[in-house]
């Protein structure tokens, strides 16, 4: 088969490779059908449940000295900042307020952490000198 102008090429392809073009068109249609199926709108099945802070479902109370002592320094009794505790805004504020309340009401020491509570698990990930 001699190829001359574009028309010829197209005609040639149409004729000789007519089957091919047809099949390719069919394949394209199939692709569309397949892609339509793939793009059905649904919620992301791999979505992770929303992460909350450590105290998400815990009520913070000024009487709960053990809980509050986990967020203060054992050496100085200072309240750790948000970047250390990893709490969300609301809970950090609640903890800070509860600690101050406990200080003023005579429930918790200001300058240190109660020695019995020193062995509590470390939430804030602070490395202490043993």
């Amino acid at each position: 088969v001699t190829l001359r102008a574009d028309e010829d090429v197209t005609t040639v392809t149409c004729v000789s490779a007519g089957v091919r073009s047809l099949t390719s068109r069919v394949v394209q249609q199939n692709d569309d059908a397949v892609s339509d199926v793939m793009l059905v709108k649904m919620e992301n099945p791999f979505k992770e449940p929303p992460k909350g802070c450590v105290l998400c479902s815990v009520q913070v109370d000024y009487k709960n000295v053990q809980l509050l002592s986990q967020f203060i320094s054992p050496y100085t009794g200072r309240i750790y900042g948000r970047h250390i505790t990893g709490l969300c805004g609301r809970k950090q504020k609640e903890v800070a307020k509860a600690v101050k309340k406990a200080h003023s009401m005579g429930f918790m020491s200001v300058t240190h952490k109660h020695p019995q509570l020193m062995t509590d698990p470390n939430i804030c990930g602070v490395k202490l000198l043993v």
Partner: protein
Amino acid sequence: MPRYELALILKAMQRPETAAALRRTVETLMERGAVVRDLENLGEKLLPYKITKHNERHSRGAYFLLDFYSSPEILPGFLNHLHRDVDVVRPTVLKKDAQAPSSTNCCGSAQ
């Protein structure tokens, strides 16, 4: 009526004297028209810091929690009475908010 909570720290005393002090407090409260709901004993503990009250330095105290309903007008008078009581080391009245904080409402992770 609003609901209040009294965190009472009494001097470390013998049982009959502690009972008498508590009785005095509750009766004062009831005289002024409050309704006492609950009285909890949180035990006798070492105070977190030494407290000086009524010319006496306290290192141990008996912790009590008193729930009551009352009108807000009696509170200043009641606190005054408590401050004058020799057996009381530190009285604190707090308002109790009966909120049910929705836990699902809280935060996405801060970091």
